[in-house]
Amino acid sequence: MRGHQQTMTTDRPLTLIAELTYRCPLRCPYCSNPLDWGSDKYRQELATEDWLRVVQEAERLGVMQIGFSGGEPLLRQDLEVMVEAAARSGLYSTLVTAGTLFTPERTARLRDAGLDHVQISIQDSRATESDAIAGTRSFEQKLAAARLVKALELPLTLNFVLHRHNLDRIEEILELCRKLEADRVELANTQYYGWALHNRAALLPTREQLERTEQAVAAARQRRDFPMGILYVIPDYYEEYPKPCLGGWGRRALAIAPHGDVLPCQVASAIPELEFANVRNHSLEWIWFESEAFNRFRGTDWISDPCQSCPRREVDFGGCRCQALLLTGDASATDPVCHLSPHHHRIVEAREKAQMEQSPSLVYRSMQGVSVGRQFHL
């Protein structure tokens, strides 16, 4: 017997990200929701019955993990019903929340419905700074929510999105996580799509900030501060090679937008050439195996050089398709994060700009997209 193995089948998804709504009380300037999240199509949210059917289809497709996300999923009053359906299907459920809408009654109801795990995002270790990024007063509510989750004995993940304005407080952030008795911590360097890409010059950290952060994370891991560990999402702009998108396009995960479009990852709607199938018209099984969008960048056949002849072809699959599109205009190009990409200079230039002292104002997430967003200077 050789213990456990990673005997994952590659052709069925393990994770479903259920984006129940794009509505949210927060206005973070790096929100991963689409720039046009306020448009009519996203307001046609799936009905409870649609989601209940999707949960069953996901289970038959091989999904093991379901993340109820958003926007703020607690804005859906039928969340309990969906959590209960996930539990009935044996899916492991996570609530991914900003934490501001928690009440003791609702949290207990969710736990009793079978919720397995809660992830709460906090923007910074200090109230003023956290509220400034969230664009609304929310810090104290988040701490209260975290305590509530612990009091109900649910496992707690705390998630911090990292950027230039909070990286210098990484030690304080880790201290806050210890104080709140997080079982698990996610420290996610900002990924530059949508809102974050628009705010890139204000958010991109310096190399020195990242080096100090990596040391702090390594020390916290060494001390075993958190029983289930720390997930550190790398700042890919400072890496030599790109990341595979969610473990590879159409390989491990799928995301469903509030109106039912099924995407290979949450931000894939940024790729205009792709048409996404909708759960109102197709089964999840068909969408995963047969739909054009899921097959477009699956595997390695579509890849051209410098990736096609690269030994890392099966490691990073050419990197992130959305990043390739956003930075080169071509979704099938090599992710410019790779130092071998002919467009890599665009990353280098962005990095060099980040070393400059002056940081531009942040544009907050708003209904109007990026053009008339309210400006706020930190």
Partner: protein
């Protein structure tokens, strides 16, 4: 010492049979670990009731001739290292 140690999953960790992939899966926050048949058989016995000794005896009956003790310890300690399993001790 095995007589007094009961391995159990911490809250938020679940073992389930995956009828699509036909294997046991260990589910935990943001993760799923596919298990081979023997690892699945070991973890199924980690119910917080059975002691280490009882688990090993039961497995030795099921897989006669195999030297399981070190493999079982190895598997469980790797899962415990990830914060997914705890050893509870019954007072002697």
């Amino acid at each position: 010492m095995e007589e007094y140690t009961q391995p159990r999953f911490v809250r938020g960790v679940r073992l389930r049979w995956d009828s699509v992939r036909r294997q046991h899966m260990l589910l935990f926050p943001e993760g799923a670990l596919g298990l081979n048949a023997t690892a699945g058989a070991v973890l199924e016995l980690c119910d917080g009731q059975r002691t280490m000794g009882a688990i090993i005896t039961e497995l030795e009956e099921r897989y006669p001739g195999a030297n399981l003790r070190s493999d079982v310890h190895d598997l469980l300690s790797r899962i415990a290292e990830r914060g997914l399993l705890r050893y509870e001790t019954i007072p002697e």
